[in-house]
Structure formats: structure tokens, C-alpha cells
């Protein structure tokens, strides 16, 4: 069995799965049960300043997008930070941490963008024995209207400033949680690093409206006939999160910075992908909210099984393995030529590849009277659309052409060498080959 023990910023946890700051971590009762179930750590539900806590709406706060058989694919929420008093949360955190010294317990914090506010809360958080803090610069609704959450996360200068205060008034690791509601994720990440952050975590939720009620014309979830955008999370956001994580992992300004990956982690495979793109831990919210804490059994067993199969003995060996393979489009090998190939034995003759290619792609699939579908190599640009729409996995494959073969589409010989756009003759800015 591969060892899943994780050491992230000196904080150790028995596995890399932390529950993200959200309802699953909003109180002692939940967190104890999560730890009993086997979760490696938790980021406590975001704390606010001392005084009367925020209030939540009293109607539906979630909306959802479903796939077949009501499988939940995307969740949207308009919940705020914890609506329980600060002291209660702090007392509970201290008790839980004392009882579970081997698990990671991180305090998520969101207070106004004023030095005094941070200076006031950090010592009391430190007293709980929490292993570190996460700065919630991500919440896209409600809190942002009050100048917090993503309102801070969208301004790199504020991130840097607040991070610096935290490093000044708190002596344990500081993680900055980033909002994806921004054009270039590398900017806030670099700001966090400049401010002295030990790590970044991402993504928080994405601005979204899940649907519109066509009887009342209210966005969903609807509160008394009105709706506001919420934060989108769950399986649907994973591709966005992976891309943002990879950008930070490979950018010069942030390369090598520890990352806690968040966004749509649902099975062990998602976690392995985040880790391979440079994450030291992953955080999970929607999957736990959909299926309960017990999924941790599959998450841990699956990751360790895959690591055993591949011969990896520790998480560290996996972290960042995919990062060198993430590149810019301009560096992709234009001499790599593939053709789609249909395995006639597996084909069930649904014609989806034909409709897709004929109507929306390159008219490269032929259909005979008796429904035999074949790829015409002289038209196929290997776009992969047929593979993506074919309902039979493995029925259509992309077969690379060998060097020296003639590509029937262009009539040109497949070159053995690597060549990309930067040197391509059609590129007006091409550097002359030397």
C-alpha cells in the first residue's frame, strides 16, 4: 500500500484529502465525524470578525445542474461565511484540534480589508492550535458586496497587502485562497507570493446562475421571486480549476509554490490529476455534500491503488509530474499527424460520428447504404470530435502516422522532426530557422 501521508507546509495529515471550507466544516459535530470517517484535514468554515455574525437567507441557497439519472454535475450556492459567533467556532476548533493532533486543521478567515481587523482576529485563531490559516479571497457573492472575499481577490495589490499583515501577526503557514472570477489567475497568485504567502489554494466558486424559472422568470435558486448569482462548484468546474492550477504551477513568478487544489474533486482520479499538476493536497466540498463523508474510503483506497500500480510510494513522487507537459499552443508539435480510425467490430452504427463530422467538422466520415462508417484519411484533420461523440469507448482511436508516410490530406511526407508555430512559414512573426 502506497503511503498517502502528506506534508504540506510542514502540516502533516494522513492523506492529502482535506474538506474545503464550507458547510461540511461549519461545526465541531461535522468535523469530528469527518475525522472519524478518515478525512486527512479540514479547512474550517470561514470565520468573520467578532460581533454579530452574518445572516444567511432563509430560503433555498443551492441550485444544481444534473446529468443522466439526476447525477449532480454542478452545484451553485449563495451561502455566506459562518453564521455562528466567532467565539463558538474558536472554542470548537481548539477542542477538535486537541483531540485529533494528527489531522490538519486550518482556519479560514475573511474580515474587512483593514489592518486592525486582521490584527484583532489572528491571535485568537493562533490560540486554538490550528495548523495554519487560509485567507478567503474567493467568495463571489454577498461578502464581495461588502468589500471582502472576491472583491479583495480580484485586486492583486490588496492580496499582497493583506497577506503581508497576516505574515506579520501570525506565525504559522498562511494559505491564500484564490477566486477564479478573474482574467489571469497568475496575477493574484504572484501577489500572494510577494506578500509572503506560504501557499495558494484554488479555486473558490465561479459566478453562476444555474437556471431561470420560466414561469416566474426568477433566477434559481429563487428567494421570494428574486435570485442573485451564486458560486458554482462540483464536477463541472474541475477543468477550469485544473487549468488555473497548471498556470500557477508553470508560471515563472509562482513556479514551485505549494498549491492546495480545489474544484470538483469527486473521485481518486480527480485528486491524482490535481496532484500531478503540482498540488500538495486537494480540498473537497461538493462531492462530500452530495454523497456524505464516506466517499473518503474510495478516495484514499483509489489513490493508493493507482500509486501501487504505477510504483509510486509517496505523494511527493507524484506532485507536479504533469507540469512539464503543460505548454503553450505555439510550442505544440505541428509535425505530429494522426488520423481517426474506426474499429468496425466495435461500431454499433449509431451514426453520431458521421453527423458530427459531416455537419460541424471536416466532412471526413463516409456512410454507406448499409450503415458502414469510415474515415476518409484525405479529409480527416484528427480533430477528435468523432472520438468525443462516439458512445462506444475505444471504438474510434487517433492513430499517429509514422514518419515518412504520406499524409493523404496534404500529400506531404510526415516529418520525423519537431516543428512548431514559432518557426512555421505561415507565421508572419516566425523566427527564421537558423
Amino acid at each position: 500500500m502506497a503511503d498517502l501521508t502528506t506534508n504540506f507546509l510542514g502540516i502533516s495529515s494522513p492523506n492529502p484529502y482535506w474538506l474545503a471550507s464550507a458547510p461540511p466544516t461549519d461545526k465541531e459535530y461535522n468535523v469530528r465525524r469527518a475525522f472519524e470517517a478518515g478525512w486527512g484535514g479540514v479547512v474550517w468554515k470561514t470565520l468573520g470578525s467578532e460581533g454579530p455574525p452574518v445572516v444567511n437567507v432563509n430560503g433555498p441557497r443551492y441550485g444544481a445542474i444534473y446529468g443522466a439519472d439526476r447525477r449532480l454535475l454542478g452545484l451553485n450556492n449563495i451561502e455566506l461565511i459562518t453564521d455562528r459567533p466567532l467565539e463558538v467556532n474558536l472554542e470548537e476548533m481548539a477542542r477538535v484540534k486537541a483531540d485529533y493532533p494528527d489531522r490538519a486543521l486550518i482556519a479560514s478567515i475573511m474580515v474587512p480589508c483593514e489592518e486592525e481587523a486582521w490584527k484583532a482576529i489572528l491571535p485568537s485563531v493562533a490560540e486554538t492550535g490550528a495548523d495554519g490559516i487560509e485567507l478567503n479571497f474567493g467568495c463571489p457573492h454577498g461578502m464581495s458586496e461588502r468589500g471582502m472575499g472576491s472583491a479583495v481577490g480580484q485586486v492583486p495589490e490588496y492580496i499582497e497587502m493583506v497577506t503581508r499583515w497576516c505574515k506579520q501577526y501570525y506565525d504559522r503557514p498562511v494559505i491564500v485562497k484564490l477566486t477564479p472570477n478573474i482574467t489571469d489567475i497568475r496575477k493574484p497568485a504572484a501577489a500572494a507570493r510577494n506578500g509572503g504567502a506560504d501557499a495558494v489554494s484554488l479555486i473558490n466558486t465561479i459566478n453562476s446562475i444555474t437556471s431561470v424559472n420560466l414561469d416566474t422568470f426568477s433566477p434559481e435558486p429563487s428567494i421570494d421571486g428574486k435570485g442573485s448569482h451564486g458560486g458554482y462548484c462540483g464536477p463541472a468546474v474541475k477543468p477550469i480549476a485544473l487549468s488555473m492550477v497548471s498556470e500557477i504551477a508553470r508560471a515563472e513568478a509562482t513556479h514551485g509554490m505549494p498549491i492546495s487544489g480545489i474544484g470538483g474533486v469527486t473521485t481518486w482520479r480527480d485528486a491524482a490529476e490535481f496532484i500531478s499538476l503540482g498540488c500538495g493536497t486537494v480540498q473537497v466540498c461538493t462531492a462530500a455534500m452530495t454523497y456524505g463523508f464516506k466517499i473518503i474510503d474510495e478516495l484514499t483506497a483509489g489513490l493508493s491503488e493507482w500509486m501501487d500500480e504505477k510504483g509510486y510510494t509517496s505523494i511527493d513522487e507524484v506532485i507536479g509530474r504533469a507540469v512539464p507537459n503543460v505548454t503553450d499552443w505555439q510550442y505544440l508539435n505541428l509535425n505530429y499527424i494522426a488520423k481517426a480510425k474506426i474499429d468496425q467490430d466495435q461500431c454499433i452504427k449509431c451514426g453520431r460520428c458521421y453527423a458530427a463530422c459531416e455537419d460541424t467538422s471536416h466532412q471526413a466520415i463516409s456512410m454507406s447504404d448499409d450503415r458502414v462508417f469510415e474515415v476518409m484519411d484525405d479529409e480527416c484533420v484528427a480533430c477528435n470530435l468523432c472520438v468525443d461523440v462516439c458512445p462506444v469507448e475505444g471504438c474510434i482511436s487517433m492513430v499517429p502516422m509514422a514518419a515518412g508516410e504520406i499524409d493523404p490530406r496534404t500529400g506531404k511526407k510526415v516529418q520525423p522532426t519537431y516543428a512548431n508555430w514559432t518557426t512555421h512559414p505561415n507565421n508572419p512573426m516566425a523566427k527564421a530557422a537558423e
Partner: protein, 444 residues
């Protein structure tokens, strides 16, 4: 108190009313909305879908299933009814395992087709239960058409003609319209008096008059119809039955399966309906299977289907055969009846094993005897009462194109016309297509 399965002879009330009620509920229960959503989601929306090609009425199956997926079962219902106005009945009775579902690519892929029939029922039930009729008549053409026979072929033809603005009179010999939908189709396929409800709903289009008790060859004649109407459509089905040649077939307890089935369909109280303790059904088609299963559901102890050729040659699909077997019906193949024995009433049937050489059946001389207090003959229906002067093709009315008979102005379709399988859905397709041809002829 129920008589029980072991009571000798042909008696009523073998099972309690509760048992009978539960036995005669839907064979395929309707899909609940969530089940329908899951079932619909399995459809791949195939290009030039093979299931559509396999449907005799060419219903746009991927479209109606997508409309269910998109949350509009009534729109799905309209898509179905545009092609097949008896889509509700067809959803219940079509042997989908040899039609659309056999062709479904998911049958090819995993032996588990999209449940097209049940989805069709979901959509059609939804629209029909809303009460309103989905189509409107075109402006009147002033033309009148006579339809003879109110079975699926006649109803489909009449509806299409009425929709196109013609006035239609259906002459039906029986007291109720519906044809075999009403008198033939298995009770466990069409429950809750669906056949009559469907006819009532269909007639809401307007412009159709149904005259029951109006028998061609008795109260009306083809010549008279041709004279009084602009066109005539014959859809009289197969009113006769093939005769069984064996000793003792005149004994009490021997009767035609179609009559027995009709009695079951028309029974007000199934507990009053007599059935044998030992029932032998002669034949191998859908009628034989239906009669055998119904006997079993009524409480017969032993029910055997005796068919003269091998299983593969049976008219009933493999699915229907398995359905019979799952109800406890024994299927005996390669046997032909020689004699029904008994003193006045049947008590036993003697059958001879057969062998087939080049399609020719011969008895092998080996005999088998089965107890039989009731023998049901299901060896095929035949055309009866076809008007003089029409050319025949084999023993059905010869047609060319969309149901044109040898007599100008007279069309025919459904079981009585040559070509096509004897199925409800085929009858609907032929009725509809003949209507289009009649329309084209009348307005040209």
C-alpha cells in the same frame, strides 16, 4: 370461494377476484416520470436512426425521445401521433422486440435497447390524458369517403382523411369500434378499457361518423358505397378462421381461440368466465400465445401450446414464447392434432409427431396424448366477406401502390390486404398511406 385450479371440466371462477385482478394488470407497467427521464437519456439520437427505419409507421423516434428528455412529453406525443394516430395502442401491443427495439443500436451494443415502446406510452399517455385532441381539420373539401371496418387500419385512414378536410363514414359490423384492438389484443396489454378510450379520443378530430352494426355484404354493398361516396376504403380484417382437420373437432370444449379471447376482452366479470383445467392451444402465432396465457391467468392448471413445426417457425416472437413459458405454459413443438377424444365433451387430444422435409410436413407415426377438456384453435385467421369483383392475391385483397385495389375508387389496407405483416402498426401505416393516396386522388 374460488373453485381452484383442480376443478374438472370447463368452469368459471377458478381464482378469486383479487387474483384475477392482479393477473390481468398491465404487462409492462407505465414509466414514472423519473424512470422515463432515465430511459430517455439512454437514446443516442442516432443519425438516420435504424429504429425509425424499423417502425412501419416511421415515427421520428430520436426526436420524440429527445422531447421527453427536454421535459416536453406532450410535444413528444404530437411527434408520435403525426405519424401514427394509434401510437397509444401501438406503444402497448407492438412486438417491439422484432421492430424498433430490435434495430436499436443499444440492442447491438449491449443487448439492452432503449425502451422505445414504454417511452412512447409515456408520451402518448401524457398527451391523451390531457384530454384535448392535438390536430385540427383542414377546411372542408366537400368530399365523402366510406371506410368499412373500424379496426386500426380503418381508424387511421378515417382520421387522416378527416384531418385533410374530407367527411368520413365508418361502417362497422360489430357493436363496438376498435377491431381487434377491442376484441383481440391481449387483455394484459390493453388494460382499463383503453381501446374504447382511444377511439373516443381519436374521433374528437371531428368529421367522422361511426355506424356500428353496418355489415358489408348484408346491410350495405360495395356497389352502393362506390355509388354514394367519392372513395371507399376496405379494412375488414380477417373475419374468418382456418378450419382444423382432425377427428372430433366438433366435440364440446373445442372452439376458436379468437372467440375465447374476445370473450375475455368483453367479460364484465372475469370470475364468471369459464376455462378448462387442462387447456391445449393449437397453433404457433400471437393468437396462440395470447389464448394460452389468458387461460393460465384465468386459473387453468395445465396449458400447452401444440405447434406443428419447430420453435423457429413460430409466428410468435421469441419474446412472446418466453412470456408464455414464464406464465407456466408448456410449448410442445413438431406435433399435429390427430383426434380430440371424449364422450360428447373433450377429455383428451391425440397428437402425432411431425418431421419436415423440404418444407413438407409428414407425421412420423409416433403419438402423444394430452389431457384436454378445452381445445383452442389458433391456426390462423382468413379473409371472409370480401366483396365480389375484387382481385385477390393469395387469399387477401390484391393491392398496388398505397392500397389501390383492382376496382377504381376502392382502396384496401390492414390485415385484409395483401402485403405487410398482420400487426396493428402495419394496419395503421397502410390506413394512413391509403388516406394520403385517396386525398391526392380526390383533390387532383
Amino acid at each position: 370461494m374460488a373453485q381452484g385450479q383442480m376443478a374438472p371440466g370447463i368452469v368459471a371462477g377458478r381464482l378469486s377476484s383479487d387474483e384475477l385482478t392482479s393477473n390481468f394488470t398491465d404487462l409492462h407497467p407505465p414509466l414514472a416520470p423519473h424512470e422515463a427521464a432515465v430511459a430517455a437519456d439512454r437514446c443516442y439520437f442516432c443519425y438516420d436512426a435504424p429504429c425509425v427505419t424499423a417502425c412501419p409507421t416511421d415515427i421520428d423516434i430520436p426526436l420524440f425521445i429527445r422531447q421527453i428528455q427536454a421535459g416536453q412529453p406532450q410535444a413528444a406525443g404530437r411527434t408520435i401521433f403525426q405519424q401514427n394516430i394509434l401510437g397509444g395502442m401501438c406503444a402497448r401491443v407492438c412486438p417491439t422486440e422484432t421492430l424498433c427495439e430490435e434495430a436499436c443500436v443499444r440492442e447491438t451494443a449491449e443487448g439492452k435497447p432503449v425502451e422505445i415502446g414504454r417511452l412512447q406510452r409515456f408520451a402518448t399517455d401524457d398527451l391523451m390524458s390531457a384530454g384535448a385532441h392535438p390536430f385540427e381539420r383542414a377546411a372542408s373539401t366537400g368530399k365523402t369517403v366510406a371506410v368499412v371496418g373500424a379496426g386500426p387500419a380503418g381508424l387511421a385512414c378515417a382520421h387522416r382523411l378527416a384531418m385533410l378536410g374530407h367527411d368520413v363514414v365508418i361502417h362497422e359490423g360489430k357493436p363496438k369500434p376498435g377491431g381487434l384492438n377491442e376484441y383481440g389484443i391481449a387483455a394484459y396489454k390493453s388494460t382499463n378499457n383503453f381501446a374504447q378510450a382511444e377511439v373516443d379520443w381519436l374521433l374528437k378530430i371531428g368529421g367522422i361518423t361511426v355506424e356500428t352494426g353496418s355489415v358489408l355484404g348484408e346491410s350495405i354493398s360495395l356497389d352502393g358505397l362506390v355509388e354514394n361516396y367519392d372513395a371507399v376504403f376496405l379494412s375488414i380484417g380477417l373475419a374468418g378462421v382456418n378450419a382444423l382437420h382432425a377427428d372430433g373437432v366438433d366435440k364440446d370444449g373445442v372452439r376458436d381461440a379468437v372467440d375465447f379471447i374476445s370473450d375475455v376482452r368483453q367479460a364484465g366479470d372475469l370470475a364468471q368466465l369459464p376455462v378448462g383445467r387442462n387447456v391445449v392451444v393449437i397453433g404457433g402465432g400471437m393468437t396462440a400465445v395470447d389464448a394460452a396465457i389468458k387461460s393460465k391467468l384465468l386459473g387453468a392448471e395445465n396449458v400447452t401450446i401444440a405447434y406443428r413445426r419447430g420453435r423457429d417457425a413460430m409466428g410468435a416472437s421469441r419474446y412472446e414464447q418466453d412470456l408464455a413459458a414464464s406464465h407456466g405454459v408448456q410449448i410442445l413443438t413438431n406435433v399435429q392434432p390427430v383426434a380430440v377424444r371424449g364422450n360428447g365433451a373433450a377429455t383428451e387430444i391425440e397428437l402425432e409427431y411431425t418431421s419436415s422435409q423440404n418444407g413438407q410436413l409428414t407425421g412420423t407415426g409416433e403419438m402423444v396424448r394430452l389431457r384436454a377438456d378445452q381445445v383452442l384453435k389458433a391456426i390462423g385467421q382468413t379473409l371472409e366477406g370480401a366483396p365480389e369483383g375484387l382481385k385477390l392475391d393469395g387469399n387477401k385483397i390484391a393491392v398496388s401502390g398505397a392500397g389501390r385495389t383492382s376496382v377504381a375508387g376502392v382502396w384496401a389496407g390492414g390485415d385484409c390486404a395483401a402485403g405487410g405483416e398482420d400487426l396493428t402498426v402495419t394496419a395503421v401505416a397502410e390506413g394512413r398511406d391509403a388516406a394520403m393516396d385517396i386525398h391526392a386522388t380526390l383533390v387532383s
